[in-house]
Amino acid sequence: MNARTLTVLLAGGLLAAWAAAQHPTGGLAHERLELLKANRPLLEDLLGHGLSLGDKNSALDRARESRETTNRLARELRSAVYAEDADRIAEMTDLYNRVWKEAFAPNLCEARDTIPPHSEAYKQVREMHRRAAKDVADLAAGIPAGGPVGTLARVKTARTQLEAAAADLGPEPADPGPAPGDDAK
């Protein structure tokens, strides 16, 4: 190999190294950027719900705000089902379950156990329990059980998780019956 060939190769190598260093997005950074772009609206909404939670001083209010969050994630999950994106279905189900189990269900149960049965707030707890149980059942039913996506293990798991989620809410709040004093009316 003569000196000229060696010089050309060396110059080429240096040029390639310089070009690679100039490129702002490597594989990992590019991947992160794509995720940031895709999730930006969802991130902004989660942040909004998180800030709202800071103002909620009752279990019922926290349950209500957490339910808004689960509704937002459910919307994202339905979009993933529509797009037949198995990974996104699994990811959104995972996030939904986290919020459901760690934020919504504990606060709703606390509200059910602490709010006086004949109060207006208790009626709201009962209604929220009923609707949330129905919504999560509908959400589970919306995940395909067959077809190219429904047969994948992670989608089956997602569906199973959602089917079991209603149990986290515990027993339906009992009907308190007529309030004391109503009999006299």
Partner: protein, 275 residues
């Protein structure tokens, strides 16, 4: 030789009127087979007498119409080969000559359509394989975790801690992505950071100040938040000058929000009474 064998061979003869010697022996003794031979010979004669419409003129007209648009290969040259020269394909060749090409084309087209239709109906469907899952955004999971921590938090100090961590995660994401993210993403992160500091950290810090506690306890509660805001401010200002134009504005906003938050929290921490 049985009658069945004789009749089969009679039908296979090119000319049923001229049977071979061994067949003649049987025919001489079997009236039934003679009747079959007579019928076969009569059919051969009838078929040979049938008029065959000449298609030569029509074929030539059709070929000429094709050739009118340009050069056309009228015949495929046949290379001499020992097999071809041996005459082994002669019967096939003569059979092909007798075929009507229009029928052959039609049958071929029908076969192609049938095969295509069957294939289309049974074509392999795209199936998502059980491959490794695509990467998930860690930031999204962190947001959810912070959200859930806030749903459990019952006191201002607990909320302050969570909002401080949350703002820290946003600032870290913005700084690490400042060389890659576009203006929309960077502006979004800057807005989120501003909101988190103003409506989360500062708001809860003010609630901490309203709670009955000693100055030392209050400073202890606020110390971590002030340290994180200071670090965020330093990091954003360090990156700002070398960042792309798109990112520079966002980093400046983050640094300014961190500065404002730090000042507010420092004032609350150093206040002797309720601010």
């Amino acid at each position: 030789m049985t009658c069945d064998v004789v009749r089969t061979r009679l039908l296979a003869l090119p000319d049923a009127a001229r049977p071979t010697d061994d067949l003649l022996t049987h025919l001489a003794a079997c009236a039934a087979c003679r009747a079959v031979q007579a019928e076969a010979a009569r059919l051969d004669a009838v078929l040979a007498a049938l008029p065959v419409p000449s298609s030569e003129a029509r074929k030539n007209t059709f070929l000429d119409s094709l050739a009118a648009d340009g050069p056309v290969i009228r015949s495929i040259p046949v290379l001499p080969s020992t097999l071809a020269g041996s005459g082994a394909f002669r019967p096939v060749g003569s059979w092909l000559k007798r075929l009507d090409l229009r029928w052959v084309g039609g049958v071929a087209a029908a076969a192609a359509l049938t095969v295509g239709g069957v294939w289309y109906a049974n074509r392999p469907k795209p199936v998502q394989q059980e491959v490794a899952a695509k990467p998930r955004q860690e930031l999204l999971k962190k947001y959810t975790d912070h959200h859930n921590a806030l749903a459990k938090a019952r006191t201002a100090p607990a909320r302050l801690t969570t909002y401080t961590r949350w703002s820290d995660d946003i600032q870290a994401e913005a700084c690490s992505m400042s060389n890659a993210a576009g203006q929309v993403e960077m502006n979004s992160l800057a807005t989120q950071y501003e909101r988190m500091v103003a409506d989360g950290v500062e708001k809860q810090a003010k609630q901490v100040a309203e709670q009955p506690m000693t100055v030392d306890d209050r400073q202890k509660v606020l110390r971590d938040a002030i340290a994180k805001l200071t670090a965020a401010e330093t990091e954003a200002r360090r990156l700002e000058p070398d960042a792309r134009t798109d990112a520079r504005t966002a980093l400046k906003r983050i640094a300014d929000a961190a500065t404002a938050g730090r000042k507010t929290l420092t004032l609350i921490a150093e206040a002797r009474g309720a601010p």
